[in-house]
């Protein structure tokens, strides 16, 4: 993107480009850049933004001074009586749950997406099969939440109208309260996320797989490689840059995730994630300082990905 790429005739004085840019830059400054900086400032203040967060400390309780909101954001969910309780409470806290979300959701969407992309290539109804997996992308998280809440429905009577519990009772099992059983419920929520996002991963990975040249695959076959070896030793290494892009995109999506948890459990029964907890602090408890501190923790978790994004962009520009 050096100026050498711009045709000579397109060079138009110094002012005109800014007319094209100004509306976009102004609106982004107002709605992204300024609020971001302001959020950082608010995270060091009390709930009304009138005094330093240090003034909210209570005597005789732990206090991190100006970082008081961060103490709350990071430790309030933990039960600090012993090492064991810290460990246990961490795994049902918003951070522990977010980590579970990241691992299960990323491996689920990328694994199923890649597997399905590779298998669907071998059948005639590939387009239909992929459209069906991709369809949930068009549905809102709220809609998906309702769909799956019904699948997970837990009836107190003999008849189960939720599909999953009906299957379990038909097989002779006892119905399970999927959404109110701690630990199990987060996994059930992640499944909804996997259902929604697998199509995204599948589509991108499938495009990358199709770009792998037939010559390479043919050469591997001639050398006597099995299909399994071709997949792991030829295809996966070739498309690994795309796999990394998909993984980072999914991690960012998971970190921001709000709707599924909000609609399906409201963050109750130990299903809170970072984004729902932030929402609760801000709009239920009106603790602006604490809420913004959680938001800052969230952006800190995302910064490595911002860095990766920019680096990848620079590498691509260098090749242009």
């Amino acid at each position: 993107m050096s100026s050498a790429n711009v045709p000579q005739v397109m060079k138009q004085g110094k002012v005109i480009p800014w007319f094209y840019l100004a509306p976009a830059i102004i609106i982004m400054s107002i709605f992204i850049v300024y609020p971001m900086l302001n959020t950082v400032v608010l995270s060091f203040l009390n709930k009304d933004g009138t005094a330093s967060a240090a003034t909210t400390c209570n005597i005789g309780e732990p206090c991190w001074g100006i970082f008081e909101n961060y103490r709350y954001a990071l430790t309030a969910e933990l039960d600090t009586t012993s090492f064991n309780t810290i460990w246990e409470s961490f795994w049902v806290s918003s951070y522990g749950n977010t980590i579970k979300w990241i691992f299960i959701m990323v491996s689920g969407t990328v694994g199923i997406g890649l597997g399905f992309a590779i298998l669907a290539e071998k059948v005639k109804y590939e387009a239909l099969a992929k459209a069906i997996i991709f369809m949930p992308m068009a549905i809102s998280f709220v809609g998906a939440g309702v769909i799956w809440k019904f699948v997970y429905n837990w009836g107190t009577t003999q008849v189960q109208v939720g599909l999953l519990n009906a299957i379990i009772t038909a097989l002779g099992g006892k119905p399970v309260a999927f959404l109110s059983t701690t630990n199990l419920n987060t996994i059930m929520l992640v499944i909804v996320g996997v259902w929604i996002w697998t199509g995204f991963c599948m589509t991108i990975l499938s495009a990358a797989l199709k770009a792998v040249s037939d010559d390479v695959l043919e050469a591997a076959r001639v050398d006597g490689a099995s299909e399994w070896q071709i997949f792991w030793k030829v295809m996966v290494p070739i498309i690994s840059p795309t796999i990394i892009v998909v993984i980072t995109t999914m991690v960012i999506n998971v970190l921001k995730l709000f709707d599924i948890v909000y609609v399906m459990t409201g963050g109750n029964f130990g299903t809170e994630v970072i984004a729902t907890r932030m929402y609760d602090e801000m709009y239920k408890n009106f603790q602006t300082g604490r809420g913004t501190a959680i938001a800052v923790v969230l952006i800190l978790a995302i910064i490595p990905f911002i860095y990766m994004n920019i680096r990848r962009f620079l590498a691509q520009e260098a090749m242009r």
Binding site: A24, N38, I310
Partner: protein
């Protein structure tokens, strides 16, 4: 020859089984939602939706018919009683918020009004950012100015900023300007947040157009402005289509922004549904109908324009 063909088919059975099994898992929850939305309430709560087509379920409960559109009517007009809107209006025992005439279509509690609100939010919030991004994308691709590369790199980073990071300051700003609970406020917010990705996509698309095109237009005496309106805009229609679908689905399906900036004053469909989930508990007849109504338009857009959607996703995620 024939024998090997048969063998081939048999070899492929596990493959077909896996693919079709996955397709079924992906489809069944949505089908369950749809069938449930067409069943009368007493049946929904006593039998599973998968029994809807079997013979004797309606005789057991004595309901008049196995399928009904009443759930949709009730959802659209915002009926919250224990029977159905039609029945209550027939006996004149409807609640005071309903008039039993066409004005009920716009009852603020109903999905009819929510549908209108969703449209009012979504259409401008889709057009504004595309319009501004076309300008900025053109400047980044074909105009020369100081800081071009740096600003664009920042923009790449801004793409992944979580919107949670900006909610509180923007809400404060809106409160002081009287923009809370207004459509204008939501349009501006979505425009600001849609911008980085939209510009990125436009710039990559426009940058891939041949240089000669611009050179010759310019040599023919076209000004910047006429190049932009007569050449750039018509040529970038595929990119505009991709972006349009993306932004449309994103805004239509969004819950968090609508929840924070509009709330109950101008409820959109996602807000209305999430509200019904929390306040109605197990009103599955209304929830399923409402959820299906909210999915209708995105599904149509999605299946009609899937090609553009996939293309936009690939440019966004893989090339960038």
């Amino acid at each position: 020859m024939r024998r090997s063909k048969i063998n081939k088919i048999f070899n492929k059975i596990p493959l077909h089984f896996i693919i079709i099994f996955t397709m079924v898992i992906w489809l069944v929850p949505t089908i369950g939602l749809f069938i449930t939305s067409l069943r009368p309430l007493p049946l929904i709560n006593t039998t599973g939706w998968w029994t809807a087509f079997s013979g004797n379920s309606s005789t057991q409960t004595g309901a008049s018919s196995k399928f009904t559109l009443n759930n949709y009517v009730d959802a659209i007009v915002g009926y919250r009683g224990t029977k159905t809107y039609v029945e209550d209006c027939g006996t004149g025992s409807q609640s005071s918020s309903l008039n039993c005439n066409a004005s009920d279509l716009l009852n603020p509690r109903g999905m009819g009004q929510a549908f209108v609100n969703s449209l009012i939010v979504t259409i401008p919030a889709t057009i504004f950012p595309i319009f501004l991004a076309a300008f900025a994308g053109y400047a980044f691709a074909w105009l020369d100015f100081k800081g071009r590369f740096l600003i664009f790199a920042v923009l790449v980073g801004l793409q992944v900023v979580p919107l949670q990071m900006t909610l509180v300051p923007v809400l404060k700003m809106y409160a002081s300007m009287g923009l809370t609970g207004t459509f204008l406020g939501v349009w501006l917010f979505h425009t600001g947040f849609g911008m980085p990705y939209a510009i990125y996509l436009m710039r990559n698309f426009l940058g891939s157009l041949p240089k000669d095109l611009f050179e010759s237009a310019y040599l023919d005496g076209a000004s910047h402005w006429s190049t932009f309106t007569k050449l750039v805009i018509p040529l970038s229609m595929p990119a505009i289509a991709s972006l349009g679908i993306f932004q449309f689905l994103w805004v239509w399906n969004d819950l968090l922004v609508a929840l924070v900036f509009l709330g109950g004053t101008k409820p959109v469909m996602t807000y209305q549904i999430s509200n019904m989930v929390t306040s109605l508990g197990a009103g599955w007849h209304l929830l399923t109908a409402a959820a299906f109504l909210s999915m209708l338009l995105p599904m149509i857009v999605f299946f009609a324009l899937q090609r553009y959607f996939v293309r936009g996703m690939l440019t966004g995620a893989v090339k960038g």
